[in-house]
């Protein structure tokens, strides 16, 4: 009986290693060879992997002539299948190799053979044909839909697992945020995303990371309750807006508000929120930890029907990981770092003719660089403190801890995420003044690096 085309997934029960498979190969001189394989591993719908432990005849034949025929057996009914394979490549690192290697090690250690059984590589073969071997058993083949859902996971689920692992590996807050946006792009095709963090005291959200926009918009602000993002921060629930009307499209209100504020300086003291002017759909999900909202993760797209409940769900899961990571970083202390750094050395000034003029406005803790708005509030004060100490004491290295306890900066004593302020500062400098940089020097420590002369001035309140 000819059945519908078989797929590798239909053979799921054969890939559990219950009945050993056999592999036939052929030497260049035409001599056939057949040997056992302990397990054929499913890789993807077109590929399987076979462990390479020993330099044997199979391996030699494959090197000469890359074709193989594998027979696998379904242990539920001893139904056999033939796979026509072509060798593609060997992997000796990566998740598949490590999973196969670990399995082998566990078996080897059981048998006290840890030194003998070692996976050299996972050999990846393309599956050219799958054939059900007829006339092997008189028992009926179990129906094709009898498949445990746990064996072949949905691609989204797999992607979430990879993302969670990547996020957990990040070393600092900045890396965590960048990795999250990168992953949303890489795995779910969310090309335009931004992350805003809540400033409880000022009841605003501030953009700390973005991806897929011409201007990174870091430092731009949205008030609580303003637009999609501000609404989500208050409601603490995800929100998805499709078929956006232009006026709703963003808390572009931010920009409008800036223009409405009197005084020429005021207008340019607002950084525009990044955003696609013609976005058709936006999703904003809150970063929740217990009952607090730490921030809002936003994605938007030009194509209608591209951001649906699936994307919202995936983003909500990533947002949960982000919230946990941000909370964790806020609680990490830098106690192990001594306040006294190495002797300050003046930075090299490459060209004395080039300079940057920083002006601090005491009225609103705002810094302009070469007449352009740079940053304000706490990050503004932090930068001013650093620049002043650099000018007055020739210091180049600073610690988070000394700044955290500096009363002039006005940081809250408890649970302040100092690192977020540094990230903001760093990114604003990258955008507006790339020749002055704050470079991390290990946990809780950073250095001021500059290739220009720095000139400071102040405007009193």
């Amino acid at each position: 009986m000819e059945r519908a085309t078989l797929t590798l997934k239909d053979l799921w029960a054969c890939f559990e290693g219950i009945i050993p498979a056999t592999i036939a190969t052929c030497a260049k001189d035409g001599t056939p060879n057949i040997s056992y394989v302990s397990q054929v591993h499913y890789v993807d719908p077109e590929h399987v992997a076979i462990s390479f432990q020993f330099f044997n005849k199979t391996r030699k034949n494959i090197a000469e002539h890359p074709f193989a025929c594998v027979m696998v057996l379904d242990p539920r009914a001893i139904q056999a299948y033939r796979l026509s394979l072509k060798y593609e490549r060997s992997e000796s690192s990566g998740p598949l190799f490590h999973a196969m290697s670990l399995q082998l090690q566990a078996i080897a250690s059981h048998a006290g053979m840890s030194d003998v059984f070692r996976l050299r590589a996972a050999d990846i073969y393309a599956v050219r044909r799958i054939e059900r071997v007829e006339g092997i058993t008189s028992l009926p083949t179990p129906p094709r839909d009898e498949r445990p859902p746990s064996l072949f996971i949905e691609p989204d689920l797999h992607a979430l697992r990879v993302i969670a692992e990547r996020l957990n590996r990040t070393e600092c807050l900045g890396e965590l945020l960048e990795t999250a946006l990168h992953c949303l792009d890489e795995f779910f095709g969310l090309h335009h995303t931004m992350l805003l963090l809540v400033d409880e005291k000022r009841r605003t959200l501030q953009t700390i990371a973005s991806r897929g926009y011409q201007e990174n918009g870091v430092g731009s602000e949205v008030g609580f309750g303003e637009g999609l993002i501000g609404t989500v921060a208050i409601a603490k629930l995800p929100l998805r807006l499709s078929g956006l009307d232009h006026t709703l499209r963003y808390a572009r209100a931010v920009h409008d508000r800036a223009e409405a504020v009197s005084g020429p300086d005021a207008v340019c003291r607002e950084i525009p929120l990044p955003g696609l002017s013609n976005a058709s759909t936006q999703i904003a999900v809150p970063l929740m930890i217990r009952h607090r909202c730490l921030g809002v993760l936003v994605a938007e797209t030009l194509e209608p029907l591209r951001l649906l409940i699936r994307e919202e769900t995936l983003m909500a899961i990533v947002a949960g990981h982000l919230a946990a990571g941000i909370e964790q970083s806020a609680q990490e202390t830098e106690d192990q770092v001594p306040i006294d750094g190495p002797l300050p050395t003046p930075p090299a000034v490459r060209s004395v003719s080039s300079q940057r003029s920083f002006c601090f406005y005491h009225a609103d803790d705002c810094i302009f660089v070469d007449g352009e708005y740079l940053i304000k509030n706490v990050p503004g004060r932090i930068l001013w403190r650093i620049l002043k100490q650099h000018q007055d004491e020739q210091r180049v290295e600073f610690t988070n801890r000394e700044l955290r306890i500096d009363s002039w900066l006005g940081l809250p004593e408890w649970k302040d995420n100092f690192e977020t302020r540094l990230i903001l500062l760093r990114k604003r400098l990258e955008q507006k003044c790339p020749d002055v940089r704050l470079v991390p020097r290990g946990r809780g420590r950073f250095a001021l690096e500059t290739s220009v002369k720095i000139v400071l001035s102040e405007k009193p309140a």
């Binding site: 001599t31 060879n33 044997n56 027979m71 001893i78 092997i136």
Partner: protein, 151 residues
């Protein structure tokens, strides 16, 4: 000549796996249902079914080259025989008598490693085709570093 240890092994209900190749050197594998060594220890006879082994039999008729790996399920003691076929013909009553002997031992092995009896019993082994093989090489194939060495 097939060494006595291998002759002994082949008397103990081993699984029979057959490798061949076609004119383009494309390999093919199948299962055999019964194997025994002839009195001179120069040849073996094995049984295949036409339905499960059509391509294998076509390959054998075309070039006669065969590899046979036999393994005892309970302890994985394994050998590989290489050779050239001497005949392909429908199984005779004598062949079936030898097959029944092998089958008893083989099913015992399968049940011993946990295969349910009704599954083992459902394996289709006839009508069979008898394949005579003149053995030219015998190799140790028990899993491990020594696998592949000529015996």
């Amino acid at each position: 000549m097939i060494p006595p240890a291998i002759v002994e092994l082949l008397r103990t209900g081993v699984s029979v796996n057959v490798g061949t190749r076609d004119a383009d050197l494309l390999p093919e594998c199948t299962r055999g249902w019964g194997i025994w060594v002839d009195d001179e220890r120069q040849a073996v006879t094995l049984l295949l079914t036409e339905s499960a082994s059509a391509q294998t039999l076509a390959n054998l008729r075309e070039n006669g080259l065969i590899a046979i790996t036999c393994s005892r399920p309970t302890d994985h003691v394994t050998c590989q025989l290489k050779g050239k076929i001497t005949h392909i013909r429908p199984a005779t009553p004598e062949d079936y008598a030898r097959q029944r002997q092998w089958r008893r031992a083989f099913l015992g092995e399968l049940i011993a490693v946990g295969v349910p009896a009704e599954q083992a019993d459902a394996i289709i082994m006839e009508p069979a085709v008898s394949v005579g093989v003149h053995v030219t090489g015998v190799f140790a194939q028990t899993p491990g570093p020594g696998a592949g060495e000529k015996v």
